[in-house]
C-alpha cells in the first residue's frame, strides 16, 4: 500500500484552535484550586493566529485534505466569520465570567473546541467528518450551556439543549445512513452524482434521507416546528454562550446546510424546496409572534433568532444559485448584531445579575450612553431599517426569493419585519424615552467588552453603508460551492 499524500495545511486554522484549547486545559489543570488560568489571553492569541492562517490560506488559494476537508472560498468565508465570532465572544467573556462567578479555564477550552467543530462543519465535503464536526461543536456547547453549576436554570438549559441536540443528531445520522444506502458513498460529490440517475428504490431512500436531514438541520438552526428548545436554552445558558450559539452555531449550521443541499442534493431540489419554503413561512410567523409576547430580553432575542432563521430559509429555497450569496451576507450581518445584543446584556452583568427586562434597561441612555447607542444600532439592524446591515441583508434575502419565483415568501418576510419593529423598538424607546428606575445596579462597561461591542456596531454600520467588499466575497464563496 502506498502512503497516502495528505496536505494538512488546510486544517491549520482548526488545528491552531484545538492546540490552544488543549494548552488552556493543561494550564487550568496545573493552576492551584480556586484560581483561573489566564484563558482569555491564550485564546485571543490562538484566534488571532488562526485568523492569520486563514489569510495565508486564502492567499495560497485554499486546499484540500484528502477530499474530506476542503478549504475553498466558501470555507474561507465561514472561517473568517467563525473566528471573528470567537474573538468577540472571548473579548466579552472575562468580565462576564467574573461577574457571574464562573471564571475557569475550561470555559475557554470548550469555546475553542466548539469553534473547531464549527470550522469543520463548514469545510467538510464528506458525511462522516461532517457528523463528527457537528458533534464536536455540540458536545462542547452542551457543557458550556451548563457551566453555571450552581444555577438550576443553567443546568436545565444544558439538559434541554442536550436532549433536543442529541435527538436532532439522531435524525441527521439516520438521514445520512439512508443517503449512504441510496448512493453507496459518504462523499457529498459522489452522493450528488449518484442521485442524479436514481433507480426507484434509491429515489425513495434518498427522499426519506433528505427529509430526515432537513429535520436535523431544522433543529440546529432553530426553525419552527423544531425551535421549542431555543428560548429556554438561550435564556438559561451563560449570556456569552448564548451569543456564541446565536451567531456561531447558526452560521455553521447554515453553512453545512448549504453545502450538503447544494452539493449532494441538488437533484432532489424539487422535493426539498417546497418543504424548506413551508418551514420558512411558519418560522417567520411563529418566531415574530412569539417574540411579541416576551418580557425577558434574552427570550425576546431568542425568538428573534428563530424568526431570522426563517428569513434565511426563505433565501435557502433559492439555493443552489442566487440564494447562497444572500444567506452568506446576511449571516455576517446577523452574527454582528446578535453578538452585540447579547454582548451588551453580558457587559452590564454585576454580581450574578444582568439586565433582563424593559425596566432594567429603562433610561440606560443617560447612564451608559455609548452602550445604549450601540444596542440601539443592533436593534435597528435586526428590524431592517435602511443604513444598517440588516436592511441590506434582508433586501438581498428577499430579492433572492423573488428571483427564484417565491414572491409570497418575500411578502411574508417584509410583513413580519414590520411586526418585529414593535418588539425591537420597544427596547430602544425604553432606553431613550424612559427615566431610570432606582439605583444604577449595573457594572460599568469593561474595556475589552466595550471593544467587542464597538467592533460589532462598526461592522453593522459599515455593512449598511458600504456592503460591496463583503458582498463580492460572498459571491465568490457562493460560486465555489457550485
Amino acid at each position: 500500500m502506498t502512503p497516502p499524500v495528505v496536505d494538512v495545511l488546510p486544517a491549520i486554522p482548526a488545528l491552531i484552535l484545538a492546540v490552544t484549547g488543549l494548552a488552556v486545559l493543561l494550564a487550568q489543570a496545573f493552576t492551584p484550586r480556586g484560581q483561573a488560568a489566564p484563558g482569555a489571553p491564550f485564546s485571543l492569541a490562538g484566534l488571532l493566529a488562526a485568523l492569520v492562517a486563514v489569510y495565508l490560506l486564502a492567499a495560497r488559494g485554499g486546499g484540500d485534505l484528502g477530499g474530506t476537508y476542503v478549504v475553498d472560498a466558501f470555507s474561507l468565508y465561514f472561517h473568517a466569520l467563525i473566528i471573528g465570532v470567537g474573538l468577540v465572544v472571548v473579548l466579552l467573556s472575562p468580565s462576564y465570567l467574573r461577574a457571574t462567578g464562573i471564571d475557569r479555564g475550561e470555559y475557554y477550552t470548550l469555546v475553542l473546541f466548539s469553534l473547531v467543530g464549527m470550522l469543520g462543519l463548514v469545510s467538510c465535503r464528506e458525511l462522516v467528518s461532517l457528523f463528527v464536526s457537528l458533534e464536536v461543536m455540540s458536545v462542547a456547547l452542551y457543557a458550556l450551556a451548563g457551566l453555571h453549576r450552581a444555577r438550576p436554570e443553567s443546568q436545565e438549559a444544558a439538559l434541554k439543549y442536550f436532549i433536543t441536540g442529541a435527538f436532532s443528531s439522531g435524525f441527521l445520522l439516520y438521514g445520512i445512513a439512508l443517503l449512504y444506502g441510496a448512493s453507496g458513498s459518504t462523499s457529498l460529490v459522489a452522493v450528488g452524482a449518484a442521485l442524479r440517475t436514481p433507480g426507484p428504490a434509491t429515489a425513495a431512500l434518498a427522499t426519506m434521507g433528505t427529509g430526515l436531514l432537513l429535520v436535523g438541520f431544522g433543529f440546529k438552526v432553530a426553525s419552527v416546528p423544531f425551535h421549542m428548545w431555543a428560548p429556554d436554552v438561550y435564556e438559561g445558558a451563560p449570556t456569552t454562550i448564548t451569543a456564541l450559539m446565536s451567531a456561531g452555531v447558526k452560521a455553521a449550521a447554515f453553512g453545512a446546510l448549504l453545502r450538503v443541499f447544494g452539493q449532494a442534493l441538488p437533484a432532489l431540489a424539487a422535493s426539498w424546496q417546497p418543504a424548506v419554503a413551508a418551514l420558512a413561512v411558519v418560522t417567520m410567523v411563529v418566531g415574530n409572534l412569539g417574540a411579541l409576547a416576551q418580557s425577558n430580553l434574552k427570550r425576546m432575542l431568542a425568538y428573534s433568532s428563530v424568526a431570522h432563521a426563517g428569513y434565511l430559509l426563505a433565501a435557502v429555497v433559492a439555493a443552489p444559485g442566487i440564494g447562497v450569496e444572500a444567506v452568506l451576507f446576511y449571516l455576517v450581518a446577523y452574527a454582528a448584531v446578535n453578538l452585540g445584543g447579547f454582548g451588551a446584556l453580558a457587559a452590564l452583568a454585576r454580581q450574578g445579575r444582568e439586565p433582563l427586562s424593559l425596566d432594567d434597561v429603562a433610561g440606560l441612555a443617560s447612564r451608559r450612553p455609548a452602550l445604549a447607542a450601540a444596542l440601539a444600532v443592533y436593534l435597528i439592524s435586526l428590524t431592517g431599517v435602511p443604513v444598517s446591515a440588516g436592511f441590506v441583508g434582508k433586501f438581498f434575502l428577499f430579492r433572492a426569493a423573488v428571483n427564484a419565483g417565491w414572491t409570497s415568501l418575500a411578502v411574508i418576510g417584509v410583513l413580519m419585519s414590520v411586526v418585529s419593529a414593535y418588539y425591537y423598538l420597544r427596547v430602544v424607546v425604553a432606553m431613550y424615552m424612559r427615566e431610570p428606575l432606582g439605583e444604577d445596579a449595573w457594572a460599568p462597561v469593561p474595556p475589552s467588552a466595550g471593544l467587542a461591542l464597538g467592533l460589532s456596531a462598526a461592522v453593522v454600520l459599515a455593512l449598511g453603508v458600504h456592503p460591496e467588499p463583503v458582498l463580492t466575497w460572498a459571491r465568490l464563496a457562493a460560486r465555489s460551492l457550485l
Binding site: 500500500m1 502512503p3 497516502p4 486545559l25 493543561l26 487550568q28 489543570a29
Partner: protein, 134 residues
Amino acid sequence: MPSAAPSASYLTSHSAILAFLLVVVGFVAVNLVLWKIIRPSRFSEEKLTTYECGENPTGSAWIQFNIRFYVFALLFIIFDVEAVFLLPWAVVFREIGPLAFLEGLVFIAILAIALAYVWRKGDLEWVRTEDRQV
C-alpha cells in the same frame, strides 16, 4: 497471516465454540435437574435471605450509590471507548507508513492530556484531595 483463505478455518473454529456451548449447557442442566430430584428441600427464613458474602443483608438493594461511582463510570466509558480507534490503527499503521504512526501518537497524546487533567483535578482518587483539605 492475511493471505490465508479465511472462510473454511473461520467456520471450523466456530464449531469448537458450538461444542463447548453444548457441553456447558448440558453440564448445568444435568446437575440442576439431578440434584433437584435427589436433595431434600427444607426452607427456613434464614436460607431464603439474599446471599451477601455471609453478612446479614441490610436494607434494600435500591439505594442511592455514592456519586463518585458515576464519575468513575464516566471516566472509564470515555477512555474505554477511545480504544476502538487504537485497535484498527495498531493492525495497519505499519503498512500505511510514518504519517499514520504519527497520527496515532497524536491521538494518544490528546488522551494523555485528558488523563493529566483528570489526575490534577483529583478525580482519579476516591476521596478528592481538594475535598479532603476542606
